[in-house]
């Protein structure tokens, strides 16, 4: 039954995603893309869990190495993604009222 529950969550999330960002001004297309890309670095959670499990049971070195690499790549995605998005958004300014 668990699989059905997960599928349920998936379907709702997809619809939510479409609703959330159906109208984005084109000014924000790049920040939205890099910001949502940072969110896709959520794989880091999966990478951490698999690395912890692998290093605790100590059965396969390869599995640990793959896990560490996954953590590293996902972290680049997360840290770099959020920082660069912030750097971009800092530049977006409204026009100052004329004196």
């Amino acid at each position: 039954m668990e699989a059905i529950l997960l599928l349920f969550i998936l379907v709702l999330s997809i619809f939510l995603g479409f609703e959330l960002i159906s109208k984005v001004p084109s000014t924000l297309h790049t920040p939205l893309m890099s910001g949502s890309n940072a969110i896709s670095g959520i794989t880091v959670v999966g990478a951490l869990l698999t690395t912890i499990a692998a290093s605790n049971c100590n059965d396969s070195d390869l599995r640990v190495i793959l896990g560490v690499l996954a953590v590293a790549f996902a972290t680049i995605n997360v840290v770099g993604g959020y920082l660069v998005t912030d750097r971009m958004l800092r530049m977006f300014k409204k026009k100052e009222p004329k004196k």
Binding site: E2, A3, L6, L10, S13, G17, F18, S22, V24, S26, T27, L28, H29, L32, M33, S34, G35, S36, A38, I39, S40, I42, T43, V44, V45, G46, A47, L48, L49, T51, I52, A53, A54, N56, S60, R63, L66, G67, A70, V71, A72, F73, A74, T75, I76, V78, G80, G81, Y82, L83, V84, D86, R87, M88, L89, R90, M91, F92, K94, K95
Partner: protein, 470 residues
Amino acid sequence: MLPPTIINLLYVAASILFILGLKKLSRADSARKGNLISAIGMLVAIVAALLTADILEPQWILLGLGLGSLIGVIAAFKVKMTSMPELVALFNGFGGIASLLVGWAEFIGFGQSSEKLSLVALFALICAVLIGAVTFSGSLIAWGKLAGIIGGKPMLFRGQKFVNILLLGGMLLAGYFILAGSLSSSFVYLTAEDAFFLLMGLSLLFGIMVVISIGGADMPVVISLLNSYSGIAACSAGFIISNNVLIVSGALVGASGIILTSIMCKAMNRSLSHVLFSGFGSGAGSSTQSKTEGESKPISSDDAFLVLEAANNVVFIPGYGMAVAQAQHAVKELADLLEQNGAEVNFAIHPVAGRMPGHMNVLLAEANVPYDQLKEMDEINPVIENADVAIVIGANDVVNPAAREDPGSPIYGMPVINVDKARTCFVLKRSMSAGFAGIENPLFYKDNTRMLFGDAKESLSHLVSEFNTQ
């Protein structure tokens, strides 16, 4: 260690923060806050993951997190704004390979445990590896094209479609072998492990094949599509380990990427499959367009200055050429001088101008152009008749009137900015050579068009200095 209920509650909190963050990220005045909220959500999720079980050997975790943070920080602060498309492409790829590696590590874990695998987890694993690999290799190719390491022209060869279909078939077959080999021990054609590596290799190859045939000007579509894939890959990884927060946030990213992709496709009046498989821009199929007659009329900077000085309403239309010439600061300088001179100045941005969605907006923001001065295509077209001068800087296809007038043109039907309807139109261009795809642009031969040849940045600087010496 926290009990599972608390961990799951933390995941719920993270999901809420992601949703709020994305919502705020889609409005200009709250976007920065939205990004921060979503970053806090990520922190909550990571902390929750670290508190799930005892960590006997923390050095591994620290190594991964430390290395990733270091590279991420350096990349984020070192990158130039003009290189933003490359960086976004690269980050997409990293997201993809992370999901691929999680799938691989879990596959090894499955092989060692005596537990029988669920069909759903296996299916998710196949998806994570397939999509993760395609995202990774596709993004690397996109990065190479954007960085100019490999040529931006689409690479096409005979039988490409056939090879792609063959690859896709091989991937599906390998996926089936993984399922069959893992679920039943009597399956003898190929072990699940061999099939796994076959799937990974074919998927990597498929990612290369798909992106290599796409031209530079179609990159906005490809980047937003790969962005969506990186989300779907994370979502698949979530199904492998039955983790809600991965599924929710992966799906959110997947959906937002699809929305952007469809916006980009609409802006080019083409379907997604046409972008992916037609090799548009190779010069093929453009033979039917009518030959443009007439001569272009060049103008000197001095004359251009006299026209601009008398103008009350000026619209700038930037394109990829502005990014190449790094002319955004010169544009801003000229715009300021025109405003001081009493003119109304606006910037008209076509959705697919540049190499990624919103490319021009980022560059102009870097040059301190306020975002309420940036007008979308639908906003500017109804009022473009009022413009005294429309200045086209390094844009070509997005201002091509053939899209409106010539049914034989390959871009017929694509929405364009109607600069030819302005009273005068200046085109800043290096030479008369046709742009990407060699599509004829009748704009250059219109009566009210003047060509200002030369490097865009130099031409603009020249105009600026004329204003200043006055």
